[in-house]
C-alpha cells in the first residue's frame, strides 16, 4: 500500500516535471520546473531501493539523506517564494526571503548538519532506520535530526497558510481557488509532521500518509494553477493576439 503511494507520487511528480520542460526551455517560470524536478528527486530519495542505490554510490554513509533534506528545503523555499509572489502575500514573502526566513533556514541547517555528523551513520538505510537502531544515543540523535529536517518545511507552510485560506474565499478563478485549497491542505499536513515525535511507533503508516498527502497536495495544487492559466489562455486567446501587437 505504502509502496503504491510512493511510486504513484513519484510518477505524478516526474510527469509534471517532464511536462514543464518545454516552458522551462522557453524561459517561462523556470523555477516551477526546478520545484517539480527537486520534488521528484526528493521522492526518489525517500523510497528505499533508489535511496540505497544512490547512497551506495555516494559512499554508503547516508549522506544521501542529508542531500534529501536540502533538496526538500530548496523545493519548499522556491514554492514559498513563487506562491507568496503570485498570491501577493507580501508579509509572507518577507517572512521567507527576509532576514527572519534566512535566519530560520540557517539555524535549522546548521543544527541538522551538526546532528548528522554527531551520529554514526554507516550503513545505507532510507529514513535512517538502520543507524537509529544501533544504540539509544543514535536513536535520539536520529529523532532530533528528523525534527530539524521537518522544521523548515513546516515554517514555510505555516507562513503560506493564511494567504492560501484567504485565496480560497476570494473571487479568483475556480481552479486557482481549488489549487489554493490543496496548497493549504498540503501546508497543514507538513505542519502536522512536527507532531511525529509524539505519534506511537506502531503508527508509522500515518507518517507516510501525511508526508505523501503533503507532497501530492503541493504538486497537484501547483499543476492546477498552471492548468488554469492554460485554460484561461485558450479562452482569451483570440483577444491576446490583438493586444500583444
Amino acid at each position: 500500500m505504502i509502496a503504491i503511494l510512493q511510486w504513484t507520487t513519484l510518477a505524478v511528480c516526474g510527469l509534471i516535471a517532464v511536462a514543464r520542460i518545454p516552458s522551462a526551455l522557453r524561459g517561462k517560470n523556470r523555477s516551477l520546473f526546478y520545484i517539480f524536478a527537486l520534488m521528484t528527486l526528493a521522492i526518489l530519495l525517500s523510497i528505499e531501493a533508489p535511496y540505497v542505490a544512490i547512497d551506495q554510490a555516494l559512499g554508503g554513509s547516508n549522506i544521501a539523506n542529508l542531500l534529501l533534506r536540502f533538496v526538500i528545503f530548496a523545493a519548499i523555499y522556491f514554492v514559498g517564494v513563487r506562491v507568496t509572489k503570485g498570491f501577493g502575500a507580501e508579509g509572507a514573502y518577507r517572512l521567507i526571503t527576509g532576514r527572519a526566513g534566512m535566519a530560520v533556514l540557517l539555524l535549522i541547517s546548521l543544527a541538522m548538519v551538526a546532528v548528522f555528523f554527531m551520529m554514526d551513520t554507516a550503513g545505507s538505510s532510507a529514513g535512517l532506520v538502520g543507524p537509529a537502531r544501533k544504540d539509544s544515543r543514535n536513536g535520539v540523535l536520529v529523532e532530533y535530526y528528523g525534527a530539524a529536517g521537518r522544521a523548515y518545511p513546516s515554517y514555510v507552510s505555516l507562513v503560506l497558510l493564511p494567504a492560501m485560506v484567504r485565496a480560497v474565499g476570494s473571487r479568483l478563478p475556480g481552479l486557482v481557488r481549488v489549487a489554493a485549497g490543496l496548497l493549504a491542505v498540503g501546508g497543514i499536513a507538513i505542519a502536522l509532521t512536527l507532531l511525529f515525535p509524539v505519534i506511537p511507533r506502531d503508527w508509522a503508516a500515518v507518517e507516510f500518509v501525511v508526508n505523501y498527502t503533503a507532497v501530492l497536495c503541493f504538486v497537484i495544487g501547483l499543476a492546477l494553477i498552471w492548468a488554469a492559466r492554460v485554460k484561461n489562455g485558450r479562452t482569451a486567446g483570440g483577444r491576446e493576439t490583438y493586444t500583444e501587437k
Binding site: 506562491v83 503570485g86 494553477i225 484561461n232
Partner: protein, 245 residues
Amino acid sequence: MTLPAKAFQRWLQGIAPDASTADVCRVSGIKRTTLAQQLVRGKISVSTVVSISRAYNINPVAALADFEPYRELAGPPRPPTRCELVSQISTPDLLRSLLARQAMDPARRSREKPAALSPAPHATSVKNWVDAIDDGEVRHRVSAATGVAPQNYSAQLTANRLSPELAVATALAAGVGPAGGLVATGLITEEEAGWPPDARQAALDSMSDGDLTALAGDRLQALGKVLRRQEHDQAQTEKIWENLG
C-alpha cells in the same frame, strides 16, 4: 423558486384543454426535454409558465396570479412609481439624456434628441430597482418575510438576479406594485406589467437637471466600484499566472 407540477397541470388544463405536452412545447418554444424534466421533478419553473402563457396570448402576470405563491399579482395592475421607472433606464441611456439637458449643454450644440430608451431590463436593473424602492429597511423586511438570509439576497442583487418570489416579496415589502420586480429581472416586459408605453421616458423628462445629474453620479460611482473591483481581480489573477503559470 418553482411551482408544483400538480397546480401547473391544472392551470394548463384550463388554458389549453386538448393540447398535448408536445403541442405546448412546440407553441411556446420550450424544449421538450426541459419541460419533461420539470414535470418529473414536480417543479415547474416560473419562466415556463411565462413562456406558455405568452404562446396562448394570456398575460403572464395574470397567469402567475393563478398560482398560490403569486396570488398578490392578481387584480388590476398598479402603476409604477417614478423611481421605479427611472431605475429601469440603463446607465448609458441616462447619461445620454443628461448630456442633452440644458445644464450640460447650454449652447444647445447637439440639436438631435437622444435615441429612444432601450427596453428594460439593463445590466444593473435589479440592483437599481431595489435601491429605488428601498426606504432603508426593505432588505430586512424581505429577509424576515421570506427567511432568505440577507447575504444571499445581496449576492443575488450584485449578480443582477432576483428569484421571482423574492422580486414579488420585495415589491410587497416596499409597498409598490407587485409586478415591478419581475420587469426589473426581465421575466416579463413593461407592457405585460401594465406600464404605459412611454412611462419611463416621461419619468425621465420630469426629472430636474439636478436630480438627473445626481442620479447619474450615483450610477457612475457604483459602476466605477464594480469596474475597479474587476480590474483588481484581473490584476491579481495575472500576477498568479506570471509567477505560477
